[in-house]
Subunit: 452 residues, 2 copies
Amino acid sequence: MAATELPSSGEDWLQTLHEAADAGDEARFARYVADVALPELARALETFPYDERAHLLANSGVTDSARLLLYLNRDAAVHLATELGVPALAEAAQDLNASELAELTDVLDGELAHGLLERCDIVRRREVESLLAYDEGTAARIMHRDVVTVRADAAIAVVHRYLQRRQALPANTDQLMVIDRDGRFRGVLAVTDLFTAEPTASVGDVMDAEALIIEPEHDQHAIMRLFLDRDLLSAPVVAPDGNLLGRIIASDVMDLVEDRAEHAMLARDGLDEDTDLFAPLIASARKRAIWLGINLGTAFLAAAVIGQFEATLEALVALAVLMPVVASMGGIAGSQTLSLAIRGLAQGQILPTNRNWLLGKEVGIGALNGVLWSLVVGGIAGLWYLNAGLGVVIGIALIINMIAAAIAGIIVPLVLGRFGFDPAISGPVVLTTVTDVVGFLSFLGLATLFLL
Amino acid sequence: MAATELPSSGEDWLQTLHEAADAGDEARFARYVADVALPELARALETFPYDERAHLLANSGVTDSARLLLYLNRDAAVHLATELGVPALAEAAQDLNASELAELTDVLDGELAHGLLERCDIVRRREVESLLAYDEGTAARIMHRDVVTVRADAAIAVVHRYLQRRQALPANTDQLMVIDRDGRFRGVLAVTDLFTAEPTASVGDVMDAEALIIEPEHDQHAIMRLFLDRDLLSAPVVAPDGNLLGRIIASDVMDLVEDRAEHAMLARDGLDEDTDLFAPLIASARKRAIWLGINLGTAFLAAAVIGQFEATLEALVALAVLMPVVASMGGIAGSQTLSLAIRGLAQGQILPTNRNWLLGKEVGIGALNGVLWSLVVGGIAGLWYLNAGLGVVIGIALIINMIAAAIAGIIVPLVLGRFGFDPAISGPVVLTTVTDVVGFLSFLGLATLFLL
């Protein structure tokens, strides 16, 4: 069988690559990376220390270094680009199309981006700058311009001849874009329909005039939903005036979906999808320090609450032992509600009409699980210290905190979203603050009232 | 312009849908859902209470109810299928292809699935059962069988005539599959190449014989990587003996990537991507209770550690006030390392050769940020209680806990993965246990030794 196998053991390949690099065997290294795709090479390069990457790349025989930067995480891309230097980078960037170059200048930012654009001719620079006027992640920034257009009034047989005269068609062309005499978008024509349609029929009769179109300002969320919901392989990007601008391909959208997966995973740790696991120590430590500082603020807020009850704690040390249980159970319950609410908001499922129902339901769940687990926690606490009152107090505090957690889990992302914050990043911090404060306050407060 | 606009305001549409439903205006409801895609309809239906869904669907004019079930989350699908009943479901399921039917029986499970398969003829049932022999998420379960095959020894002009004779080609056909006389897979032929190739050339000369192939057992992770790395729109599925089985399309892979995004977001709350935000109260409460119970175990473990130091806490109540700060900072730092390690493992970037380097680096970050924040925390604590010793002790405990967090953040997912657990689910629980226990133990232990 001629076809090559799916690389099923990426880790073994990467391990061999490391061995070649460690042995200083550059020829072997170059051979191993010769036919891998750029995203694979980027992931591999990320596993080497920063100061080895430029050297490895230079000796790898890979000429596509500018495009490779687009697949590295931001930190790694900036570092490698700095090592390469502007002249070499500008040379390699000549192969990039305008969208790729716009993305690269966006990633590199500052002097590198400036140097890169300065070395472009004026036409290309204008083109890149017009793309940069759109926000990152909008359709205009993602689209390809390599569309194949045909006229609506042409006959199918004419399209056949036209395509045969072209040397090659752009990769991943599953449909042609149909325009009218004035260049306005009219619809799409599946390439496969060229075979099954009558040769004498006109393109306008065969095309799909109801194809969904994307506008240049549409954001990645809308684009993802369109592709996911409609099983598209590509879609046209059309300006509001009907001007055909380009096309978006499924593989680009897949990259967006994957970025979102990484974002979802890392946001609540205050990290972004561009965080480099293999970045140097100092740079990594600095990035993470800020998040620790923010969380330190909330931790001291909780400590301040506890500090109000020093006399109570001195009188009954069991409270100090048990108080983390109340706070932690609220945190877990609230985090469940919060994550579901963030997903519901992202999918547009939380509406003015069902918001109150949802809040009521989550409060009900909090109350139900609060009662259930308060029996367990109260029982254990009461038996541990042979103090029935302590059991009752911790049980009631737990119920209060779990209901508060449910309310916060729905309200916090709604409010954060309203003020333009990403609830996936800031939601967990705010929620933990609520459940810590309410947990300590209710438990120690009730204890002060009823146990002393 | 004839083309319809991208539905840019999904929430408004959903709001209108709710208003129609609340007003009991079934005709209006049916009109609103008439031309939305099934995934959109599924998301909309999920926002209605369980007991309204079957009624709404029955009056919506949607006939594709069996396929709709595939887009609902599992809980909602099982509930709706039960409402529909086996006879109606079997009727609607006649439109499904074998892969879809296999997926549906997998989702429904139990009696419903059994009833559904019983009503199929024997050929179809065998086909579905042979698919169910493969694990969920493998290529065999995801692929489509509607491939267009051509012979390698045919001339391009013959392929043209063959395609013209077919009534229609399967949707999203961007390439034809090339087989030899014995039906073995030989390569792929891009549909666009049919135009640019010489009519007299043979398919074998024009095709891509090096196309990557997917084996039926390949799992979704390998399939996602292939599509993401190679920008494919479709790929052939070929048995080890060279037999062509089907094709996988980019839109299916996009669904896999999206499921993984939801999994990444919900796993650490002990939820799965099938959790229904709008499920009834009791069912939701039951699902979430188990996770709370697991976390309760770890909370009591931490409490037991604190309980060992009751005498210390009684002597110095400030310790009770400050101890959550030490535990919480360790938890935050460890969670950052853990999330990055889980991502690195998923991408195959953590290897025997760089594991120790990585561990050393994370410990370095923990130590560096530990020292930095210990100065802040120690300073605040020392000033708060005018007790320099307390400041030193909490500072040292913080450094210890942050180093422990870094080690746990790397080791825990490696060990969990080795034993077949999903580190995204169980990792955070184990990590929090470590940082709570080490945090309380180091702080209260050091205080017992040096402050009393």
